[in-house]
Amino acid sequence: MERISIRVPRKKKMSYLLPHLHSGWAVDQAILAEEERLVIIRFGHDWDETCMQMDEVLASVAETLKNFAVIYLVDITEVPDFNTMYELYDPSTVMFFFRNKHIMIDLGTGNNNKINWALKDKQEFIDIVETVYRGARKGRGLVIAPKDYSTKYRY
């Protein structure tokens, strides 16, 4: 019997450049302890392709945003505590928190709770974070993303 080996191209993994949180308690503390900055958490798996794309963007902007946002990665298999609460069933989920409060964003997708796809553009992500930060500082629970991501414009 002939064996067929399929070669999977190796992808770059940028996740090692960002801090990981390894327990539910750590996630809670990260959100609670940050007073002045936005907390951005990416839920997913480091090995997931969508996550890899997202991590690429996150890692590249982490240094740029460090004055007003901090980025953490959470493995949803290692830390399943939030899966039901935040409905984490997408390959990659990015959520924003400010002073222990979840900030919603109107992305035009219908799901205002999170970014559940991989953003490819750094500047777009920076713009979203700035908007979220501005809104959150003013006490808003829902901000409107600078760009509409609804599929209406894609098709």
Binding site: E63, T64, L65, N67, F68, I126, Y133, R134
Partner: protein
């Protein structure tokens, strides 16, 4: 007549005498100058002489003999230096070293002259040899060994030349066009070879002596550039004291050769580097940094020379410290520049905005606000095709502008602030009529339907505000459609 002619001739003679005298003087001057300039060339002319002694005179001079003798004595005595504390300039050994430096330069020149002599003679026997063996001393040795032998396989050149060169030399010798030399010429040539070898060994002796004493004369300088280069620097500068008085930029040029580049660029030829290029530091530096390293080296060796000239540090520690410093600096130059860190963005809204609202800003906004005409052109009425610049919807569309129902082909410009300003200025210059409305405006409108409409300009004033006819969303519409009666 004759007397007059004679007198004229006499005058002419006198004149020509004067003229003849002056050029003579010039000639003499020129000859003097030539002698000065062509001192080196005179040596070359001598090469044609048959007699060796008339070519090389150095070995017979009193100076050469005296110095070599002194050096030999000093070398025999060894390096037990007992003259510590004596002023350096008065030290006889120091004087000897300065003389040695001068002598070594002379010996070098002498060897070149003798080399030319040997070549001249030996060319008849083996013309290709001079192009195969370039170094004067090697050449002299090989010539002495070969002599008049035609079959080179019988001559053992092992130890004189690298084996590859020996191979080439013996192969070339088998096909050479040379003839054996007459006995007299050969003996002269061999004698010249001997003399070159003796001079070479003398030069080595002198240099060994100088180098062995450099550690005592200039410990700091020689620990930076090495004793050989230090000796050469001192020799060219004319002693340690004058080296110490020299600025660093001149030290850098000591021993620099005048190169004839034949019009080529000076960019890559190590043009302005003297003896310092023979230092170990210079040679280990990458070529792109060599000029820089050379400047640094010159500066530090000048400092070291100054320390040495006052015998400030006989242990040579200062020099070694300088050397370490130079090494560190050169290494640092080769480091890549630090990686550029991304600049973090400022916190949004962290600073209050500099620009505030106010009368001025409001005025400016008013002045540059979108006009009513543009507003109309940007708007479409529902279910009514717009006019366009090329017709049939081609070209630039006019929107609601100039549509039949609106009766507004030409929109009279409302009393905008900008217009008022312009009008005011206009008036100040005493032009035109007194009224604010221009004489060109009219309530007559020519529509594309080729009719003339006479409309009330005020009737449609409301319509400007909104494109839609007073619906729920329009600006003119009221909240409730039911009018109170």
């Amino acid at each position: 007549m004759a007397t007059l002619a004679d007198s004229f001739l006499a005058d002419l003679d006198e004149l020509s005498d004067n003229e003849a005298e002056i050029p003579e003087d010039n000639d003499v001057d020129a000859a003097d100058m030539e002698e000065d300039v062509d001192g080196d060339l005179a040596d070359l002319e001598n090469l044609n002489y048959d007699d060796l002694d008339s070519v090389s005179k150095l070995q017979k001079t009193q100076r050469y003999i005296a110095i070599i003798q002194k050096v030999e004595e000093a070398l025999k005595m060894g390096s037990d230096v007992s003259t510590q504390g004596v002023d350096l300039e008065d030290d006889p050994e120091y004087q000897l070293i300065v003389d040695c430096n001068a002598l070594s330069v002379d010996i070098e020149n002498e060897i070149v002259i003798i080399h030319n002599f040997i070549r001249e003679k030996y060319r008849l026997k083996f013309p290709e040899l001079e192009s195969l063996v370039h170094h004067p001393i090697d050449y002299a040795r090989v010539v002495k060994k070969i002599g008049n032998e035609m079959d080179l396989t019988l001559v053992d050149l092992e130890g004189l030349l690298p084996s590859a060169i020996i191979m080439v030399v013996s192969v070339t010798a088998s096909t050479t066009t040379g003839k054996p030399l007459p006995e007299e010429v050969l003996s002269k040539t061999v004698e010249a070879c001997d003399r070159a070898l003796v001079l070479d060994s003398a030069k080595k002796k002198v240099l060994d002596f100088v180098e062995s004493r450099m550690g005592y004369i200039a410990p700091n300088l020689s620990s930076i550039v090495g004793s050989a280069v230090a000796a050469k620097l001192m020799g060219t500068a004319g002693g340690l004291a004058s080296l110490a008085k020299m600025p660093a930029c001149n030290v850098q040029l000591l021993g620099a050769k005048k190169k004839n580049l034949a019009g080529f660029s000076t960019a890559t030829s190590q043009f302005r580097v003297g003896y310092l290029e023979q230092t170990e530091i210079f040679q280990t530096t990458p070529p792109s940094l060599r000029m820089r390293a050379c400047r640094l080296l010159a500066a530090k060796s000048t400092l070291a020379a100054r320390v040495d000239s006052i015998r400030g540090d006989p242990s040579g520690n200062t020099g070694r410290a300088f050397k370490d410093e130079i090494h560190k600096k050169i290494e640092k130059w080769q480091e890549p520049p630090p990686a550029k860190q991304p600049k973090p963005l400022p916190v949004p809204d962290s600073e209050p905005k500099k620009k505030r609202g106010g009368r001025r800003l409001r005025k400016m906004k008013e002045r540059y606000a979108i006009t009513d005409m543009r507003k109309l052109a940007n708007r479409m009425q529902f279910g009514v095709p717009e006019e366009s610049s090329l017709g049939d919807g081609l070209g630039e569309g006019y929107g609601m502008l100039g549509q039949a129902g609106s009766g507004k082909l030409r929109v009279s410009v409302g009393q905008s602030k900008l217009a008022a300003k312009v009008a005011k200025r206009f008036k100040e210059k005493n032009y035109g009529s007194s009224g604010a409305t221009s004489g060109l405006t009219s309530s007559l409108a020519f529509t594309p339907v080729q009719g003339i409409e006479l409309t009330n300009p005020q009737a449609h004033a409301h319509q400007l505000g909104s494109g839609t006819q007073s619906t729920y969303f329009s600006e003119t519409g009221t909240f409730s459609k039911i009018k109170r009666t």
